[in-house]
Structure formats: structure tokens, C-alpha cells
């Protein structure tokens, strides 16, 4: 893992001192709330319905056992004993007091963590493929470039007061597990015809009120030229992004309104106006950062583990869990294990401080001390020996962390919704809980197979509902919570926006509506055809009829 050098450490401490000063000046009146708000947001501090909320950056989803233990300590000392993992691989605490936040930031800095730019109209925390450095389909590990962008964008003098937030994602793999096409800017490490690795750059994706799929603006950017290119993109956006309407201020609207070609031309013109060569020796920086990720000393193991195979044959429950939870590691004899934070009927992404400590111990015992956070609000133990899988599973089960539903219908993404969020129009979590209870039976889930349900409590789409196979959007309709259901969204390299099935339904009607859609799929699917493939083959209209049938019955 990346360890701060003395410069990084000094920077984060100065940032903490800066925020401490800002809080003091807010309390004594030098800063009005209007002035303070963007400052606190750029440090991850929101005011939600019931309290402040602090969003802690987990850069590109990489977390150490030591860090998770520190988060547990903060949860107990300054919060209410639990945290919430988000769709941008961050962790949120729901109950901090403003006056305690500087102390919390110091505790985070103790373990190389911070809350910098997890909110606000700035370049946000960079996300990445949760299997970075582990996946076999990877051209290169994307973490060094993600870390380079984290540093370059931190407290940027020019790009801290953008028209709107700016989200960046990075992946080095053939398959997209980082939702690249739904980001303001995405970088995919690719090879050119000469076999050199470089960057494909996508711009203008995003969910929210006007969902759009990102477009390629550079199909091959040579290594060493990334930061000037990013600077040019950001400068065009900062100067020309709309500021007259909050809902039209994201870069996707600018790219859409002027067209990709015009946008590309402006970026290239901007590049010509600045030094064409990066002022930073990117190659040396990337090499320096990469060293930190290359320290893992894997054992030489056989690709097949007799112990694992025997346990799988002996224990059906273990086999079921292994079936959904294991991701092939590029190193023989290892696996990456996804640990579901979606217990049936539970709150998606929540973890108690007790679970955090236990999980940190397991990461140290079984995964070289390393943890990943996924955008689907689960955790990953990235380096588990196949030989150890059964022992790990037993320990996870004791901590109620062995739910075997990863990728299945109850592995639901849900934003905090109106249970916490000041922007929400309806609740999300109780809807997720109700669906989870309805489909919680392990056999039934396995029979349905891969199916992603994503729920947002407002149009801002933190719950990624647009790209859910089934998406659910909570709105207010005539003084009541009402839920719109979409179908056919896709969060992979085949990114697609779901289509609306019909008028909104009440909270009580949601599980029935979902069940109708699922039943229709089960009746119409071909042999092993996954849900999303069946939707594509059969068309949304057929499912719409099934969905509307539910409504007729309810009426």
C-alpha cells in the first residue's frame, strides 16, 4: 500500500490545522455559514437531517487493517459505533459534532487518512477498480495513477471552485468494475498498437438528473502527459461549464451542449497554450508510487488447493458462499474475497465498530493486512490463500459477515436516503430491507442468479439507480414517498441507462413490483441466461407489461 512520505504527511497535517482554524473562525463569526459551507464540504463535512455527516476518503478504495481499526476507534469515541460505506468507496460517519471534527481529522492523519475533497465543487476522491493489482484481466495496476491524481488534485489552487463536483475513476482492466462511463472523467489504461501502455480518457459521463454515458476524448494519451491533459480539461470546464443552473453545471452538460469534437478541440487548444511537457516528472513519480504497491511478498503456491476443494465438497454452505464471493487472483494459490455488507434485511454498507475491529484482525491474519472497499458497498480481502478460505469463512460467519449474496438480488446498493440525507426526497434503506427480506432465501437467490438492484432516494442518484438492472428512485408524490422503477441499466463496460417502467408505486408496493419482474424473467429465460441478458433479448416492453400487471392487481 501507498505510505505517505514526509511531504504527504506534512500536507495532511497542515490541512487539518487549516480546517481547525476555519471551524474556530466559523464559531466566532468571522465566517458566515454561506462562506463556511463550501469550506467544510471540501473537507467532507455535510449538515444532514439529524446531524453533521463526515465523509472520509478511502482513496481508490484501498484501506489497511490499521486504518480500519482507527475508523472503529473514531466510530466509538466520536460517533455512534458504526459507519457507512458509500458508492464512491468512502466511509461516512453520521453523527460527528462540528467541534470534534478537527480532532477526528488528526486521528485520521495518524493513519495516513483524510476527508479532503470528499464533497464540494472540486475534484473529488478518485475511485478505482476494487480488484486493482489483483485482477488477471489487468493491463496495469491503476492505483499509482489514481494516487498521482489524488496528490495533484489536492487543494488545487485553480480547480477548487468549479461549476459543480467532478468525479474521477481509474481502471487498468479489460472489464469495467469502476463504473468508468458514469464519471465526469475516467481513465482506462490501454495498450496502443506498438504495445505501449497509455491512457484512454473518457469525459462527460454521470448519473443524476440527466444521466449520460462518458465519451472518449483521447483514445491514447502517452504516459508522462497525463497531468497537463487533466489541467487542460479542467481549465476548459472551469471556464465554460454552466453556472446559471445547478442541474446543468456538470461537465456532461457542457460536452453534450457543445459536442465532443468541439470539446476536444478546446482541450487541445488549451494544451497548446500551456507547457506541453508535464511540469512534473510523471514517470518518476509513478515509479515511486508503484514501488509502494509492489511490496507484497506472495508465497509460491500451487494454482489448485486440495484443502479448499475438500472443504467445498464437504460443506454446501461454504461452497455457496465461495461461489459468489471469490474472485480469481492473478497470483496462483490466492483469491480475492468479496465480503458482503448486505445481511438479509440489514442496512446496505453499514458496519459496526466491533465488526470493523474484527475485520481488521481477519485482514491481518488472512489478507496481508489489506482491504478494499467496493462501489457496491461491500468489502474485499484481496490476498487470501485458497488454503485459508474455509478458515476465513468460519470466522466471517461468527461475525455475521458471511452472507452469500454477492452479485445477487439482495446485494442491493442503496444511498442513505431520507433516513439521513438532507437532499433526499424519499427513504432508500427501508426499501432495500423490504426487498432483501422478500428474496432473502438463499436457494431462491441462487436460482435467480446475478441481478443488481440499485436504489436512490433522490434524483442525484448516489445509489446509481440508472445503471441498476433494476433501478429504484424515491420521490415525493402528493405528500407521500413514491418509487419509480427502471429496467435494463448496466454498470459495466456495456454501460446503459435503465428505462422507466411506468408510474411510481408506494413503498409497500415495491417488493411485489420487483417480484413480478423477477417472476417474468424466470418464466421467460433461456437455460442459464442471466437477468440482464434476458431483458436485452426480450425488450423492456415485455417487462413493462408484467410491471403494470402488478399495478392493476393492486388497484
Amino acid at each position: 500500500m501507498y505510505k505517505y512520505d514526509r511531504f504527504d504527511a506534512h500536507f495532511v497535517r497542515e490541512r487539518v490545522a487549516q480546517f481547525r482554524d476555519q471551524v474556530e473562525r466559523r464559531l466566532e463569526g468571522s465566517l458566515t455559514e454561506d462562506e463556511f459551507k463550501p469550506l467544510r464540504l471540501q473537507n467532507g463535512l455535510y449538515l444532514q437531517l439529524h446531524a453533521y455527516m463526515l465523509r472520509i476518503a478511502v482513496p481508490y478504495g484501498v484501506l489497511s487493517a490499521v486504518q480500519l481499526r482507527q475508523l472503529a476507534l473514531i466510530a466509538d469515541r466520536y460517533d455512534r459505533g458504526y459507519g457507512h460505506f458509500t458508492t464512491r468507496q468512502n466511509l461516512q460517519f453520521n453523527w460527528p459534532k462540528l467541534v470534534d471534527v478537527p480532532e477526528i481529522l488528526d486521528l485520521l492523519a495518524d493513519v495516513d487518512m483524510h476527508c479532503i475533497q470528499t464533497s464540494g465543487n472540486c475534484i473529488r476522491n478518485v475511485t478505482a477498480d476494487q480488484f486493482a493489482g489483483v485482477a488477471g484481466d489487468e493491463i496495469e495496476d491503476p492505483r499509482p495513477v489514481a494516487e498521482l491524481i489524488r496528490q495533484w488534485s489536492s487543494h488545487h489552487p485553480e480547480f477548487s471552485f468549479l461549476p459543480r463536483k467532478f468525479k474521477v475513476a481509474v481502471s487498468g482492466a479489460a472489464h469495467d468494475r469502476a463504473l468508468l462511463k458514469a464519471h465526469d472523467l475516467a481513465i482506462r489504461i490501454v495498450r496502443n498498437e506498438a504495445g505501449e501502455a497509455g491512457y484512454e480518457v473518457l469525459v462527460g459521463g454521470g448519473l443524476g438528473r440527466t444521466p449520460m454515458i462518458g465519451k472518449v476524448v483521447r483514445d491514447f494519451l502517452p504516459k508522462g502527459e497525463l497531468l497537463p491533459y487533466l489541467e487542460a480539461v479542467m481549465r476548459v470546464y472551469n471556464a465554460e461549464g454552466r453556472r446559471d443552473n445547478k442541474y446543468k453545471a456538470r461537465i456532461k452538460i457542457l460536452v453534450h451542449e457543445i459536442g465532443v469534437e468541439a470539446f476536444q478541440a478546446r482541450v487541445e487548444a488549451e494544451l497548446r497554450a500551456i507547457e506541453p511537457i508535464s511540469p512534473v516528472d510523471e514517470t518518476a513519480e509513478l515509479a515511486r508510487i508503484a514501488e509502494a504497491f509492489d511490496t507484497i511478498d506472495y508465497a509460491r503456491l500451487a494454482p489448485r488447493s486440495e484443502r479448499f476443494e475438500a472443504a467445498r465438497a464437504r460443506d454446501a454452505r461454504f461452497a455457496a458462499w465461495a461461489q459468489t464471493s471469490i474472485f480469481t487472483h492473478r497470483v496462483d494459490g490466492y483469491a480475492a474475497v468479496t465480503v458482503s455488507l448486505k445481511p438479509v434485511g440489514g442496512v446496505p454498507g453499514d458496519m459496526t465498530s466491533e465488526q470493523m475491529r474484527l475485520f481488521a484482525d481477519l485482514a491481518e491474519r488472512f489478507s496481508l493486512g489489506e482491504i478494499r472497499v467496493t462501489h457496491a458497498q461491500n468489502l474485499v480481502l484481496p490476498h487470501v490463500r485458497l488454503d485459508d478460505l474455509h478458515a476465513l469463512w468460519l470466522e466471517l460467519a461468527d461475525a455475521e459477515l458471511a452472507t452469500d449474496n454477492v452479485g445477487l438480488i439482495t446485494d442491493i446498493i442503496a444511498c442513505p436516503g431520507l433516513d439521513y440525507c438532507a437532499l433526499a426526497t424519499a427513504r432508500s434503506i427501508p426499501i432495500a430491507q423490504a426487498i432483501s427480506m422478500r428474496f432473502g432465501d438463499a436457494v431462491r437467490q441462487a436460482e435467480i442468479g446475478p441481478l443488481q438492484i440499485k436504489i436512490s432516494g433522490c434524483i442525484n442518484a448516489c445509489g446509481h439507480h440508472h445503471v441498476g438492472h433494476i433501478g429504484i428512485l424515491g420521490l415525493e408524490k402528493r405528500g407521500q414517498e413514491s418509487y419509480q422503477i427502471t429496467l435494463g441499466g448496466d454498470a459495466t463496460e456495456n454501460a446503459a441507462i435503465g428505462e422507466l417502467l411506468g408510474p411510481g408505486v408506494t413503498a409497500q408496493e415495491v417488493p411485489d413490483a420487483i417480484e413480478r419482474i423477477v417472476d417474468h424473467y424466470l418464466a421467460r429465460r433461456l437455460a442459464d441466461e442471466p437477468f440482464i441478458d434476458a431483458v436485452r433479448r426480450l425488450g423492456v416492453d415485455e417487462f413493462r407489461a408484467a410491471f403494470l400487471g402488478t399495478q392493476d392487481e393492486a388497484a
Binding site: R26, L27, E28, G29, E33, L47, Q48, L49, H50, A51, Y52, R80, N94, W95, P96, K97, L98, V99, V347, L418, D419, Y420, A422, R427, I429, P430, Q433, G479, Q480, E481
Partner: protein
Amino acid sequence: MAVSTKRRLLPVILIANDLRSGDVVFYGDDGWTCDLGRARVAQDHGAADDLEATGARSMARQNVVDAYLIEIEPTTDGPRPRHFRERFKTTGPTIYPHLGRRFGAAQAAAAGE
């Protein structure tokens, strides 16, 4: 603003978040309180305007943030917000009933010991 142009439905109370803690607070006869039952209820537009002005002053003095009026209906258990959003805001997350107002009260009691 003239009373006749107000679209608010009476009665109303004044709600906000405490600046330092973020806690949900209500304006009562003795100032800000965490107890919804002690919120001052404005029955007419004049009283509502006064409450609104109090909120603005309190925000300017760095006591609270996000102060605004919410419409309520009186019940035997005290004021009940008409809108579901404000009901959630006054009671806490519906998914964790133990983390709502009772948690705050328990904390306050523990701190007092």
C-alpha cells in the same frame, strides 16, 4: 412579506440544527431546546413571522444553522410535523429507532451524571 401572501399552513414551529453539535433543535419559550414537546407553536401569521425572525437572528449569531418553519398538527403527544421529511428529522433515522431522539436524551442524561 405580507401575511396574506404566505402559503404556509398554520400552526408552525421553528426547527434548526445546533451549529456546534448539529443536533436538531426547536425554538421554545426558554430558547432552543432538543425537546419537540417544548417547541413554541405559532398559531397565527404574526407569531410565525416572529419565529422566522428569531431564526434569522439566531443564525446570524452563530447559534444555529438551517433554521426554518415547519407545519405541524397538534396531538396529545405534542406537535407532529405534517410532512414526512420533517417527521423523520424530528424522530431520527426510521431504520435505527434507538439512534433517534432517545439516543440524544440518553447521552445528555449520561453526561449529566
